[in-house]
């Protein structure tokens, strides 16, 4: 027989205290963090591209100067080589120095 007034209520429910931020808060935090990361990466990629462009143009702007200097040197060396060849081969009848076309336009 049950005791008078019934049994004591059984404490069967979970009794875990909720600690820390809620799940939605954590989700929001992670999402915000990831979005910020994506933003920085996107910004960095654009910037990287622009840095490459800057480097490329700094080289493009110097190309004529360097090319002109190299051309003068190549021309001088070719003239000297031709003169040397003419001197060496002066006793060979029928010899003529053919000026070599050093740089040709690529055909493909």
């Amino acid at each position: 027989m049950p005791p008078a007034g019934g049994f004591e209520t059984l404490r069967y429910k979970r009794n875990l205290p909720t600690r820390g931020p809620s799940a939605y808060a954590i989700l929001a935090g992670v999402t915000a963090s990831v979005l910020y990361g994506c933003y920085v990466v996107a910004k960095a990629r654009i910037e990287q591209k622009e840095l490459e462009r800057e480097k490329a143009w700094s080289r493009i702007y110097l190309t004529p100067l360097l090319m002109a200097e190299a051309d003068r040197d190549t021309y001088r060396r070719q003239q000297i080589a031709n003169a040397r060849e003419a001197a060496i081969m002066s006793k060979v009848p029928g010899w003529s120095v053919r000026s070599v076309q050093l740089l040709r336009r690529p055909t493909c």
């Binding site: 800057e54 143009w57 700094s58 100067l65 001088r76 070719q78 000297i80």
Partner: protein, 149 residues
């Protein structure tokens, strides 16, 4: 060649007018590249057009001399007007693997000086954001303080 370096010291043929080479190393040239490009644009374009028409080194000697003279003129102007800023910038480039983004501070000083004295503005073509003017760049000088020259 019996192991010796072959040096050809013979002078330029006399039918070619003399022009002094710029005699500047890579870092100063890179530092001044955008100013050279702006200042000498007409001569550079002329030369490159000539080269596109004929690749023979002998074909474009005249245009090439003009290019070199123009660059020399600009370098002299830089030396007269912005020697200090220029020196600082190319010295920085030399120490930092010649990367522009690691020398923005020195560069902005140089750019301001050149814009004020010579009226040449650094502009990167086809670029909307002009990477050298970004206020807070992602890529900046990452040299630790103790390692800075």
């Amino acid at each position: 060649m019996s192991g010796r370096t072959y040096v050809d010291n013979a002078p330029v043929p006399s039918d070619v007018p003399h022009v002094d080479e710029v005699g500047v190393t890579s870092a100063p040239l890179k530092s001044a590249a955008f100013f050279i490009g702006k200042f000498c644009q007409a001569y550079n374009d002329d030369f490159m057009q000539c080269k596109a028409d004929a690749r023979d080194p002998a074909a474009c000697l005249k245009e090439g001399r003009r290019v070199t003279r123009c660059a020399t003129e600009l370098i002299n102007k830089l030396r007269e007007n912005c020697q200090q800023e220029w020196d600082k910038h190319w010295d920085c480039l030399e120490q930092r693997n010649q990367e522009f983004y690691r020398c923005r501070k020195a560069e902005s000083a140089l750019n301001a000086c050149v814009l004020e004295k010579l009226g040449i503005k650094k502009e990167i073509p086809n670029s909307k954001i002009q990477v050298h003017t970004i206020a807070k760049p992602v890529f900046k000088d990452d040299t630790p303080k103790w390692d800075r020259p």
